[in-house]
């Protein structure tokens, strides 16, 4: 282990973790109530959910504020910095595994479940007894499953908005990297410009994505209920979109922090963590573009 001249910072007592646990509980309790509410008794669950979400925002604000204060006060030495880096890296790894579950569902549905329902393989009785007229196919012609759940739908053409979104995200990865290099070189103006540009690209991506969703629902009749095709399509792109939203917010916060002069050439873990996160979101999108849109 490296030589440690100074001492590892162990924060003193803090109420934020306890607050965090409470607001998380309120949020999910509200959400569960809302999901089970009878048509007549709406209200209680939604209110709790709203309070919980506001509480979470408040908690993040407060918790990070104290962290930023400590950081600016110089409490974090290089060893603490390493802990933060490991924390972020492993968090991103856990996110990769989360997306892995949905990609796994996509591959399984395409490669096994749907072909089996179409009669492929030995002794597949579901086809024989229940849906002998179903011929397996992915996408518009069969992705709704043998029961045509959700009705007839069209799929999104990859070479329009999705391609544009790919280009947007890829260039946003470039701009955030340029901003990072500028930060290390100490050019604050350039950092602000390129980071700001990255935020705008993120927002544009989200705008296009929303547009695509609206079109899918209105014109293509492609919905979350469109059989397993619609399920995998919207769950994968939807969770990705949520991550882009979060990433864009984080980038915007970092932009503000750069404006306030929170970072210097050596000390800017907050910036790097968000940049890593942004690259991760980018890589997930490439997987989506490939396996959800093109193939």
């Amino acid at each position: 282990m490296g030589q440690q001249q100074d001492i590892y910072f162990v924060p003193s007592k803090s109420y934020w973790p306890f607050v965090a646990a409470i607001v998380m509980f309120v949020t999910v309790f509200g959400a569960a109530h809302w999901l089970n509410a009878e048509p007549g008794e709406a209200g209680f669950g939604e209110s709790l959910l709203g309070i919980g979400v506001l509480g979470i925002l408040f908690m993040f604000f407060g918790w990070f504020r104290s962290v930023i204060r400590e950081s600016l006060a110089g409490s974090y030495n290089s060893q603490v910095d390493r802990s933060f880096r490991m924390g972020m890296m492993w968090f991103i790894f856990s996110e990769v595994m989360f997306f892995g579950a949905f990609f796994g569902a996509l591959f399984y549905a395409r490669m096994y479940a749907v072909p089996w329902l179409g009669g492929e393989g030995h002794g597949v009785l579901t086809h024989q007894f229940l849906w002998s007229d179903y011929s397996a196919a992915w996408g518009a012609s069969g992705g709704g499953g043998p029961g045509h759940v959700g009705g007839h739908f069209e799929t999104v053409v990859p070479w329009g908005l999705p391609l544009l979104n790919t280009l947007i995200l890829l260039s946003s990865s470039v701009t955030v990297t340029i901003a990072h290099h500028a930060l290390k070189a100490g050019h604050r103006g350039k950092v602000l410009a390129f980071l700001g540009f990255t935020v705008l690209l993120g927002a544009t991506f989200l705008y296009c994505q929303a547009h695509e969703y609206i079109e899918a629902y209105r014109e293509l009749n492609l919905t979350l209920q469109s059989g397993v095709y619609g399920s995998t399509f919207f769950m994968l792109t939807g969770f990705h979109g949520m991550h882009v939203t979060l990433g864009t917010i984080m980038l915007a916060v970092i932009w503000l922090r750069v404006l306030r002069g929170h970072f210097n050439k050596e000390h800017h873990f907050g910036f790097e963590a968000v940049a890593w996160y942004w690259h991760f979101v980018d890589v997930v999108w490439l997987g989506l573009f490939m396996f959800v849109y093109i193939l």
Partner: protein, 538 residues
């Protein structure tokens, strides 16, 4: 003494805060948070245990005895969820919290505030989970494995799914913290391949947790959307497949069972050398065995699904992959025995539980091997044989290791010795009744009694009655455990020495008993006897 006792850099506290709320709800101290985890886990052990008593009471005789079938199913489901996520896993995290910083010479966990959040999520998550028992439609009753479409019945789905999400977030944060602590906070000289095996086992377990808890989160999210938002992941009419859930679930589920046993391996590898007064036999082999078990645990999941109708190639692959795990597991058992071989052994309570672990866990491993044989599993699957198998590995395996660890480190935590007499009484009662409880279940399973049913053929009556009697007495024996702990924490007059056990080696024994609120604020100077393996580099 190997450490300098300067705590003066802390901005506001030298000892534990006086105010109750401040101390326990706002803590950033790994020892206090470890205690919280352990107390929570013990509470859950008794709650989950009381559900098990309901199950055994209903099964005492054939015919419907006490409860409604739906309630019975709720009990089996809740018993498993509470024990797995509420008792066993938090106990290991609590032990890790307490001991890892002490064993590697760190001032605390790497991310102390997140540590507190990891803990405090749990009481809320279990409030959510247990509250479903009082819902108008009742709680979850489809088994802890939550297979759709059965598990999608009722209104409790959302509550259960969100509770699982919360537990997952807690586990992932706890695991990240442990990895960062082990990789980043070791005192100079505590190289990776010189660390205690317990620390190694937690490093690998933490990796497993981060890898599979998100997969479980994904699986239950799909349940949620299938139930409430009309998706078709597990609906064949929409092109999905209920078997898909089983794949995703067991991709989590099998590593999960190793999450519950690897830290136990670590604990046993600490206790046996202490009471055999010999270093662990084959230190590196022990570490590599844990790593290879962890690796293999990712490619065996479908052994839980042999009977579901997998393609032949898959059955064969998963059968052989599963049996491969017996190799590293065998290495571990061999090395524990070799550590004891020729040692000058004494049999204090932790050692008794550790020896019982080695023998009884191995029985569980053998029944696992039987289940791994595809043709045999067609017969055994979903019978009481499976129940017997996993209770041997989880109760006499994981739980016995946790109990052994509690006796082993209790003097370090409290500064007082527990009552050895009552510890031994607890041990003998536990070890006898647990076998009366679970051994007959092997026979029941082989004879064809299905699991998760409230009533059964009269042919199974005798063994069930024996099993229930064992169950009640095993449950009652754990009240002795509670008594021993209460006595050791508040009433015992016998002070513990710093080293506590004559043969104990390692950094945790160089600090006073009870361990002061802050330890190793300055990295300690490590000596050879503080290392599990090798020498200090000069």
């Amino acid at each position: 003494m190997a450490h300098a006792a300067t705590h003066d850099h802390h901005d506001d506290h030298h000892g534990a805060p006086k105010n109750f709320f401040t101390r326990w709800c706002m803590s950033t101290n790994h020892k206090d948070i470890g205690t919280l985890y352990l107390v929570f886990s013990l509470t859950m052990l008794f709650i989950g245990g009381s559900f098990a008593m309901v199950i055994r009471a209903e099964l005492f005789k054939p015919g419907m005895q006490l409860v409604q079938p739906y309630f019975f199913n709720e009990m089996t489901t809740m018993h498993a969820l509470v024990m797995i996520f509420g008792a066993i896993m938090p106990a290991f995290v609590g032990l890790g919290n307490w001991m890892i910083p002490l064993m590697i010479g760190a001032p605390d966990m790497a991310l102390p505030r997140m540590n507190n959040l990891s803990f405090w999520i749990l009481p809320f998550a279990f409030t959510l989970l247990l509250s479903t028992l009082f819902l108008p439609g009742g709680g979850p009753a489809g088994g802890w494995t939550m297979y759709p479409p059965l598990s999608l019945q009722g209104d409790s789905v959302a509550y259960v799914v969100f509770a699982v999400h919360l537990m997952g977030i807690s586990s992932i944060m706890g695991a990240i913290n442990i990895i960062a602590t082990i990789l980043n906070m070791r005192a100079p000289g505590m190289d990776l391949l010189k660390m205690p095996v317990f620390v190694w086992s937690w490093l690998i377990t933490a990796f497993l947790l981060i890898a599979v808890m998100p997969v479980l989160a994904g699986a239950v999210t799909m349940l949620l959307t299938d139930k409430y938002f009309g998706t078709s992941f597990f609906n064949a009419a929409g092109g999905g497949d209920p078997v898909l859930f089983q794949h995703i679930f067991w991709f989590f589920g099998h590593p999960e069972v190793y999450i519950m046993i690897l830290p136990a391996f670590g604990i046993i590898s600490e206790i046996i050398p202490t009471f055999a007064r010999k270093p662990i036999f084959g230190y590196k082999a022990m570490v590599f065995a844990i790593a290879s078990i962890a690796f293999l645990s990712f490619i065996v999941w479908a052994h839980h699904m042999f009977a579901v109708g997998l393609p032949l190639g898959a059955e064969i692959f998963f059968m052989y992959a599963t049996m491969l795990i017996a190799v590293p597991t065998g290495i571990k058992v061999f090395n524990w025995v070799s550590t004891m071989w020729g040692g000058s052994m004494t049999f204090e309570t932790p050692m008794l539980f550790a020896i019982a672990f080695v023998i009884l866990f191995t029985i569980g491993g053998f029944s696992g091997l039987m289940l791994a044989l595809v043709p045999a599993d067609f017969q055994y699957h979903d019978t009481y044989f499976v129940v017997a198998h996993f209770h041997y590995v989880l109760v006499t395996g994981a739980l016995f290791a946790i109990i052994a660890a509690s006796y082993y480190w209790l003097p370090k935590w409290t500064g007082r010795m527990y009552s050895e007499t009552w510890g031994k009484i607890h041990f003998w009662n536990s070890v006898i009744w647990v076998n009366v409880l679970f051994f007959p279940q092997h026979f029941l399973g082989l004879a064809g009694m299905p699991r998760r049913i409230p009533d059964y053929n009269v042919a199974f009556a005798n063994f069930n009655m024996i099993s229930s009697i064992g169950g009640f007495l095993f449950g009652a024996s754990q009240l002795i455990f509670l008594g021993v702990i209460v006595h050791a924490v508040w009433f015992s007059k016998k002070k513990a020495t710093d080293r506590v056990w004559e043969g104990a080696k390692g950094l945790e024994w160089t600090v006073p008993s009870p361990a002061p609120f802050h330890t190793f604020d300055v990295p300690p100077v490590i000596h050879d006897e503080d290392l599990a393996h090798g020498h200090v580099d000069h």
